[in-house]
C-alpha cells in the first residue's frame, strides 16, 4: 500500500463518512423493493400478521443499506449530494479509478427497521489493496465497514463490503 496517496493512507482504520439522515423510512418505499424481488413476506405487507412477530410491519432487512442513500433529486440539492456508499466514491476519485463494482458483502442484522425511522450511517475504511490488472482493467480492491443506527442510536446492522474499482483499457 506504499503507493497510496497520503489522503487515502490517512483514511485507513478511521470513520471517514458520517451520514445523519437521508430519507425517512416509509412503507411505500420498501414495497417497491419487495415488488422488484416478488417478496410477499407478510412482515413487510400485512399489519395483522406482522403484529404477532414484529409488532407492526417492518422494512425488508436486505434493504438496510438503502436507507443511507439519498433521493436522486430534492429541492435545494447541490451537486451529487451523498452518494450510496460515499466513501467508495471518494476512494475512486482519490485513486483515479472511475468504475467500481461490489464483489462481496456481509450483512449482520440487529433491530428491524420500521416506518418513521431515520437511519444514521458511519463508513470506515478497513484496507486498500495494491493496483493490479483485473479482468475489467487496472484496478484495486478495498474493504469498507459500515454501521447503521437508528436516530436514537439503536443498532440496526453492520456491513462489510469488498469493492473492486477499475479503469477500462
Amino acid at each position: 500500500m506504499s503507493d497510496l496517496p497520503d489522503l487515502v493512507k490517512n483514511w485507513i482504520g478511521k470513520t471517514v463518512v458520517k451520514v445523519d439522515h437521508t430519507v425517512t423510512v416509509e412503507r411505500g418505499l420498501w414495497l417497491t423493493f419487495c415488488a422488484a424481488v416478488q417478496d410477499g413476506n407478510p412482515l413487510y405487507w400485512e399489519d395483522a400478521i406482522a403484529q404477532e412477530h414484529t409488532g407492526r410491519v417492518i422494512a425488508p432487512p436486505a434493504l438496510l443499506a438503502g436507507w443511507g442513500s439519498e433521493l436522486d433529486w430534492y429541492p435545494g440539492k447541490q451537486g451529487h449530494g451523498v452518494r450510496p456508499l460515499e466513501l467508495h466514491f471518494m476512494l475512486k476519485e482519490a485513486l483515479g479509478l472511475p468504475n467500481g463494482i461490489t464483489i462481496g458483502v456481509e450483512l449482520e442484522f440487529h433491530e428491524p427497521v420500521h416506518a418513521g425511522d431515520k437511519v444514521q450511517v458511519e463508513q470506515m475504511l478497513r484496507a486498500v489493496g495494491d493496483e493490479k490488472p483485473t479482468r475489467l482493467g487496472i484496478g484495486r480492491k478495498w474493504t469498507i465497514d459500515v454501521v447503521y443506527r437508528r436516530q436514537d442510536q439503536v443498532l440496526l446492522g453492520l456491513q462489510t463490503l469488498e469493492m473492486l474499482a477499475y479503469r477500462t483499457p
Binding site: 437521508t22 430519507v23 418505499l29 420498501w30 417497491t32 423493493f33 419487495c34 415488488a35 422488484a36 424481488v37 416478488q38 417478496d39 413476506n41 407478510p42 412482515l43 400478521i49 406482522a50 404477532e52 412477530h53 414484529t54 425488508p60 432487512p61 436486505a62 434493504l63 443499506a65 438503502g66 442513500s69 439519498e70 433521493l71 436522486d72 452518494r83 450510496p84 472511475p98 468504475n99 463494482i101 461490489t102 464483489i103 462481496g104 458483502v105 456481509e106 450483512l107 449482520e108 442484522f109 440487529h110 433491530e111 428491524p112 475489467l136 482493467g137 439503536v154 443498532l155 477499475y166 477500462t168
Partner: protein, 156 residues
Amino acid sequence: MPMNPLPVVNTRLPELRVVVTTKAIIMGAIASRDWQPLHHDYPWSTSTGGLPNIVMNYYTQAGWISRYLTDWSGPQGRIARLKLSMRSSICPGDELVISGVIDSLEQESAERCWVKVSIEMAVGERIATTSQVRMALPATDSAPSPWSITAADWRP
C-alpha cells in the same frame, strides 16, 4: 413452514427459477436508491463500464436471497447474517436458478434453533453469486417467534 420436525442438515431447499428482466434490475436499483449507471444505463455499462449489460445490484441480490429463504421458513424466520460473494454479473435475459442446502442446525434452547444455509444463484452452468445465511427459527410450532428476541439476547 412448520418447524416441527426441525429442519435436517443437508436438506436441499426447493429451487426458485426467475427470468431476469431489465425492468426488474432497474426497479431493484431505484428502490434501493442506487443511482449508478451500471444498474440502469445499457450504453454506459457496455462501453465505459466494460460490462456485458446492465447488472443486478447487490441489494437486489440480497433481496432475492432473503425472499427465497423466507418463502421456505415463513415469516417467523429471522435472518441474522447474510454474506454474498459475487463471481459474475446477473443481467437481463438470464434465467436465474436459486438453490440452497442446509449446512448446519444448532438448537440453542427448547424454543429456538439456528440454521446455516448455503445458497447459489446460477445462470446455466455459471455460478453468479454464492451466499451463506444464518437464520433463527422457532424450535417448535408453539415456540415464540425469533422476532421477539430482545436486542440484549440477539446474537447474530
